[in-house]
Symmetry: C2
Subunit: 301 residues, 2 copies
């Protein structure tokens, strides 16, 4: 990889993270801005944010987006979280004067590439990075290379069926992993459970739900354990199908892994085949917050 | 690939298929023998079968086995169908005097490689071959190469959770695809259904069950449709996670695809994301019977 600085942009459903990244994946400078729903306004706000970063010195711009991205055409085909359909992001970045060349990628895929560099010394073989945020996604590294599938859509782990209570998922199906373990789903279930128990003080975010669970609140604890069971079922299916050597958990919810990972691990070991279960290492990514923005930057040639 | 003839051996739970295969994947000669439970007896019986095939002219022997195979050490770690644990197959083949070098592979993986050559002109990009037999497996080609995972175990599609009635699977879990769509599971369900209806003439094989369904027998039709629903759920999960361009159905049950594929397709389209569902082609392999034995042979360097 060419020595020098690249600009990384990680567009999530709520926040846009920006970073200047060197060829080793080190973050030299960072900022963030709100993820505006209008794509043009968002790109302009990002450009404003980096206006004094000396953009002429950059080797290019890598952009990660939470959604179904066409990396070849630089188009966001679809993003539930951003409410975008067929947004030609490459044109918006080009017109705004961001440093060329560009690389566009799904955010979980970018996170997997970032994890390869930041967590595996660039030597990952068969790595799955599971992003646990509002929704649940995955980035895939197979035999040392990014795997994107036929159209760049691969990695939608959040829609693995996990059995259960017939819970509706935003995708239109039922009993998807995301309908149990996504941040949105966790809060829906917890809010209902608290309301039924006529509790007045209800956690309003996964962070508060984690604090409540750590204080011993039974409803909050059960919310995380229920999510952990769904995650364990999906991970077992993943192990049986893909036999990865490493699974890293990233995204905001990974910070609360102490509340759901023991359950997920137990269910995973019960359901998965012996050989893939024995070899895989499952852990929380150390640099969880930076994986997407660093991966996006490092994908610039 | 070097021009010349290779010996292919495909060891299934019931039968062993043997073939002489040229470098284009053409089968020049074939035979079959029973899959004996004793590994040494099986290998000797296979050797006996090919004794007059002029083995000195072969460039090597490719062996596909229904089970968890270590391709590097040539060991069958585990095979439910054959009842084998840690069988050093490479030693048995070597001692018996089969033509060297050897290549050992899981049967579904070998089938995927055979399908690449026989069905996709050797240019498969992202191909999943689903083997529908007594159990359900899959062979994976990602970005034009065989994907085996960390230990060669990848492809256990049969143990994708598909929701449902809590049916126990031989693997110890519940509601796996194989517990609905495997040949064994189909027959268990159908036999129960017929018995409850006090029917005297009960189909005793998937082949007979297919004939009964085609004659309009309601129980038989429902058995296949129920299997199709489970297959559709698992294929949707596969599409979302892996975004393949082609899914080929192979194995004995693929011959009855007219009875379950329309249902599977419908459920798959309902559950899968738009982009991967739009691009994928799902069809029955034309050379279903030969995929494993040809793929095994062509894997010999």
């Amino acid at each position: 990889m060419k020595k020098g600085l690249r600009l990384g942009v990680d567009i999530g459903g709520t926040l846009v993270k920006l970073a200047v990244v060197d060829e080793r994946g080190l973050v030299l400078k960072r900022a963030q801005t709100d993820a505006l729903k209008n794509p043009k306004s968002l790109v302009e706000a990002v450009h404003e944010e980096i206006s004094d970063w000396g953009e002429k010195n950059f080797l290019g711009t890598g952009v990660a987006v939470a959604g179904d991205v066409d990396p070849v055409r630089g188009v966001v085909r679809f993003s539930t979280n951003l409410g975008w359909t067929n947004v030609p992001l490459v044109d918006l970045f080009r017109r705004c004067g961001f440093p060329k060349p560009f690389h566009f990628e799904n955010d979980a895929t970018a996170a997997a590439w970032g994890a390869n560099h930041l967590e595996c010394g660039g030597r990952a073989r068969n790595l799955v990075v599971v992003t646990l945020g509002t929704g649940v996604g995955a980035g895939l590294i197979f035999d040392g290379k990014i795997y994107r599938g036929a159209t760049g859509t691969a990695g939608e782990l959040g829609h693995t069926p996990v059995g259960g209570e017939g819970v509706a998922c935003l995708c239109g199906s039922r009993d998807c992993l995301e309908a149990y373990m996504g941040g949105a789903a966790l809060m829906t279930w917890a809010t209902n459970a608290y309301t039924q128990k006529r509790r007045s003080k209800i956690p309003v975010s996964p962070k508060e739900l984690a604090l409540a669970a750590r204080r011993g609140d039974a409803v909050a604890k059960e919310a995380w354990i229920r999510g952990g069971r769904a995650l364990g079922t999906a991970l077992a299916s993943l192990l049986n199908l893909l036999n990865p050597d490493t699974i890293l958990l990233a995204g905001g919810l990974a910070k609360s892994a102490d509340l759901f990972l023991p359950t997920a691990r137990k269910v995973m070991m019960e359901r998965a085949f012996h050989t893939p279960a024995r070899v895989v290492r499952v852990r929380v990514a150390k640099n969880s917050e930076d994986l997407g923005v660093v991966g996006a930057a490092l994908l610039v040639e």
